[in-house]
């Protein structure tokens, strides 16, 4: 099926949800409101002529420095592919500027579980009804969401776990454990490293 | 005077067996190395011949780490229990006619008793380490040894019936020095069961579950280091040798060979043991590992019924033939 035809079908089924659609390098994307995202994706998955049964990727984007205007700050991007019918589509859900949140699609694809956790971890987008929304890549006690554009590349401060570990190593050093060792060469970084 | 002589013999046996253990590791590493398109130890001495000595010295001088929360006395004693039990069973092995430290009439039972005791060492090591990997290893070992002890004992009942004795020397004598006299042919089912049980009893591949390194890190010996770890290693190799010796005595005619060797009567015995060692190593290089429940299934559902059938068969044959 032609990608634009899929978009037209989606627009017919969810007239109020579609904001706009466009094609770039042969790939069609549709920008939607977040409210009925689960229904839309279920429609895309279960409609016989579309059958988008493979969730290729799910990720979040922080649009704060993007030159295009009119976008909300955060969006969640779903790349879908139909293995039996061999067509693809991208769904971009605008999820707002502050405290972004969207419904979880774990009920449609169990594999979305970790992808949504990752998006929450790195961008701070919350997923409603997610069974286990925890950080996945960063430590549990990490402060901030690193992939946000206002998060500095180097991070704001040393992770608490690392400073604790270095303190522990220094403490152990007092018992004659590697007196010239790593604890001294890798001390807690100085302020000048801050960006 | 007798006691003194006995002590000398014990020391000689101890030293000889320890050297054999050391070189059994070398033997294993070399053979596995060549089976796996590599060379094995090559650095220390000519073709790595001094490697076992270097290993021994290294493990002797390594720090003996005892985990903080381990049950200290048990933790310290476990490897010793293993080693002592295994070494004790050496006493009843007849290396050649008259070359035996303690020619007792219940030799076979004694060896079973000792190898069961050795498994206490493993279980206690697993328990006292206070590590879950060790614990699981110890539990596996306990279950495995209990199951396979049965099939092993039953598999040898046929031999006992045929020889009419539990004395190891008597079993060898009963087989005579002819090739066809060996119990290998009449007791082929018994041998099959015994051989598999032997692998399981010594925790060798494909039954090395208690120390399966990819599942349980190193099983019951995870928390051990230095000399204590080496003691477990030695016990395992002595265990292999003892089991190979029993197989040799019960099925391959012990010290008898095609011709008598003048100055060194145990030669055939040693060669047969090394044949078994080679097979152990060969299997290790070839087979994957069983899963825990499959191992139990094999023991209880296949080997024990087979061994029982073998006993009935042997008893019937004996009744008919006499």
């Amino acid at each position: 099926m032609e990608q634009m035809a899929i978009v037209d079908g989606l627009r017919a089924a969810f007239p109020d949800e579609i904001l706009h659609s466009y094609t770039n390098q042969g790939q069609t994307a549709v920008v939607v409101r977040p409210g009925r995202i689960v229904d839309m994706l279920r429609w895309l998955r279960d409609t016989d002529t579309i059958r988008m049964n493979h969730l290729r990727s799910l990720c979040g984007v922080d649009n704060v420095r993007r030159k295009e205007s009119g976008l909300s700050r955060f969006e969640v991007v779903y790349n879908l592919y139909s293995i039996p019918l061999r067509h693809e589509i991208r769904v971009r859900a605008e999820v707002g500027d502050k405290e972004p949140a969207i419904d979880s699609v774990v009920e449609l694809w169990a594999g979305a579980n970790w992808l949504e956790r990752e998006t929450y971890d790195l961008l701070g987008i919350r997923f409603n009804n997610h069974p286990d929304l925890r950080r996945v890549l960063m430590p549990d006690d990490w402060v901030g969401h690193p992939l946000r554009k206002d998060y500095p590349l180097r991070g704001r401060e040393e992770w608490a776990g690392m400073t604790e570990l270095l303190a522990k190593v220094q403490e152990l050093d007092r018992f004659g454990f590697d007196p010239e060792g790593h604890a001294h060469s890798q001390a807690i970084p100085d302020e000048e490293d801050e960006e | 005077m007798d006691i003194l002589l006995m002590l000398v013999w014990i020391v000689i046996l101890f030293v000889v067996v320890m050297l054999h253990v050391a070189y059994a590791t070398y033997f294993e590493r070399k053979i596995i190395g060549h089976m796996q398109v590599r060379l094995g130890p090559m650095r220390i001495g000519w073709h790595g011949l001094l490697q076992p000595i270097a290993d021994g010295i290294k493990s002797f001088f390594k720090e003996d780490i005892i985990p903080e929360n381990a049950d200290r006395p048990t933790f310290l004693a476990a490897p010793i229990i293993c080693l002592v039990a295994m070494m004790t069973s050496l006493a009843v092995l007849p290396f050649a006619r008259g070359w035996v430290l303690a020619d007792i009439d219940i030799g076979l039972l004694f060896i079973f008793a000792m190898s069961s005791l050795a498994s206490y060492g493993v279980v206690l090591a697993g328990w006292s380490s206070n590590s879950k990997y060790s614990f699981l290893g110890g539990m596996r070992s306990m279950a495995q040894v209990i199951s396979y002890e049965i099939s092993m004992g039953l598999s040898l009942v046929g031999v006992m019936l045929m020889a009419g004795s539990l004395n190891l020397s008597a079993i060898v004598e009963a087989q005579g020095d002819r090739f066809l006299g060996m119990y290998l042919m009449p007791q082929c089912i018994g041998f099959f069961v015994f051989f598999i049980s032997m692998l399981a009893e010594t925790n060798r591949v494909p039954f090395d579950l208690p120390e399966a390194e990819t599942e349980l890190v190193s099983g019951y010996s995870t928390e051990y280091s230095g000399m204590r770890y080496a003691i477990f290693f030695m016990a395992e190799y002595i265990g292999m040798m003892v089991m190979a010796a029993i197989a040799t005595i019960c099925f391959l005619g012990g010290w008898n060979g095609p011709f008598a060797v003048p100055f060194f009567p145990p030669l055939w015995f040693v060669l047969k043991i090394y044949l078994f060692m080679f097979v152990f190593i060969w299997i290790r290089a070839t087979l994957p590992r069983y899963r825990y429940d499959q191992l139990m299934g094999l023991g209880w559902k296949v080997l024990i019924p087979l061994a029982l059938a073998n006993i009935v068969f042997t008893a019937c044959m004996k009744a008919i033939l006499t």
Binding site: N24, Q25, Q27, A29, N53, H54, L55, R56, S57, C59, V61, R65, K67, E68, V77, N79, Y81, I83, R86, E88, L108, W109, A110, G111, A112, N113, W114, L115, R135, L137, M138, D141, P146, Y151, L153, G161, E164 | M35, Q36, V37, R38, E68, N69, N130, S131, K132, L136, L209, E213, T214, E215, V217, R284, T286, L287, P288, R289, Y290, R291, Q294
Partner: protein, 408 residues
């Protein structure tokens, strides 16, 4: 917040049925393939609950890529799946070429296909080696390394590196192949099928191997799709999905190969799929060598291969230019096409996808990596629940995860 470094363990005394205890497997464990940690809730040796934990190798590649030019970010992809770095490089380059509309000469496409398939063989050999070792067959391990060594030597001949190549570049490849490389590769292809047979004689019909793999870790086709499994894990469940066939890139449309499919979705089916893929990869390489056309190895607008003397004196909007110094001058103008693409390639582990957003700058605005290992580890809990510890190890091996790729 305090984090106990050592934790005393209370081993429960079994005084009733269903006594559970937890076991934390990894991140340092001989069989968890890197720094995967799996928190297990066990009942005896049966897994009641299995929670994989990743992130120990998180290096923030997506964040880093936003601060590097497209050409610079290429080196990050080497460190994703470090076992098959070449395939990641190719995947990245294909994606950036699609994003920025850069053409690639045919010879470069063929060379990339060759190296990607070599990479697949390398990865599958390492997978077979470690998978067999996990199940206890240690000899296969060294046999596989023997052949992998030949390929690594060939990579070294090709680009000087053995692990992190960065050989494919946006718009082409870095250097042309040498006759010695082609000869070596041909010699390898001549012996390789017999070597595959050699591995198979050791394990393929071995009863213990079958007992350990058949019927273990079963995933049906629908489950596999829902869990997002790709690559051999999906094909082992009978779903015919291979990006090389579905959306061909490089020279895959020009060569003839089959996609092996399993049906049972168990560990053995995945194993068979990968073993067949070894044959198919060798077949693809052979065809590429035979068809390798002459010509340039880099496109005219390849951003990092244009020599300094070719850089235009005046930079117009829309010109592809490489070099951070020059870019500063034209920061406010669009150097590149802006837009977004999602491009997937079939790497040995599964579908590696790059979702790029370009806003016209010389750096990606957003680069999301859809890494198959990450999703496969996420699926591990569903697959391993209710099985034994030994099966968990076999399952981890069978899913073929690489933590560098998972954690990014």
């Amino acid at each position: 917040m305090t984090r106990p470094i050592t934790k005393s363990m209370d081993i429960p005394v079994a005084d009733g049925e269903g006594e559970r205890y937890s076991l934390r497997m990894g991140p340092q464990h001989p069989a968890t393939h890197g720094v995967l940690r799996v928190d297990l809730e066990l009942d005896g040796e049966t897994i009641v609950e299995c929670t994989p934990q990743v992130g120990y190798l998180h290096r923030g590649f997506e964040k880093l890529a936003e601060n590097k030019t497209y050409a610079q970010a290429l080196i990050l992809t080497d460190r994703l799946d470090y076992i098959a770095a070449m395939a990641n490089n190719v995947g990245y380059c294909v994606a950036v070429e699609r994003l920025l509309d850069i053409s690639v000469p045919l010879r470069a496409k063929y060379i990339r296909t060759i190296v990607a398939e070599m990479s697949r063989i390398c990865s599958h050999l390492l997978w077979l080696a470690t998978h067999a070792l996990d199940i206890g067959a240690m000899t296969v391990f060294l046999y596989c390394f023997r052949e992998r060594e030949i390929l690594l030597d060939l990579f070294e001949e090709l680009c000087g590196a053995r692990l992190t190549f960065s050989y494919p570049r946006i718009g082409g490849v870095r250097q042309d192949v040498t006759a010695r490389f082609i000869d070596g590769l041909q010699r390898f292809l001549d012996i390789f099928p017999s070597k595959i047979e050699e591995y198979e004689t050791l394990i393929d019909t071995n009863r213990i191997w079958l007992k350990r793999t058949v019927g273990i870790g079963k995933v049906s086709g629908e489950e596999a799709l829902a869990l997002g499994l790709t690559g051999a894990c999906l094909r082992g469940s009978g779903v015919d999905y291979d990006v090389r066939k579905h959306q061909p890139y490089d020279a895959y449309a020009l060569v003839d190969f089959e996609v092996p499919l399993g049906s049972d979705g168990d560990i053995y089916a995945r194993y068979r799929c990968r073993m067949e893929e070894l044959h198919q990869s060798a077949r693809i390489i052979q065809q590429c060598i035979d068809q390798l056309p002459p010509g340039p190895i880099a496109g005219p607008d390849a951003p990092d291969l244009v020599m300094p003397n070719k850089v235009p004196a005046r930079i117009e909007a829309g010109t592809n230019v490489y070099g951070t110094g020059l870019i500063k001058l034209v920061r406010d103008r669009n150097l590149y096409i802006s837009g977004d693409v999602y491009v997937a390639t079939e790497v040995p582990k599964g579908e590696l996808g790059f979702y790029f957003i370009s806003d016209g700058n010389n750096r990606p605005y957003r680069m999301h990596i859809r890494s198959p290992s990450f999703i496969h580890i996420g699926a591990l809990a569903a697959i391993a629940r209710g099985e034994l510890i030994a099966d968990l190890i076999a399952n981890i091996g069978s899913l073929d995860v690489v933590l560098g790729e998972s954690d990014r």
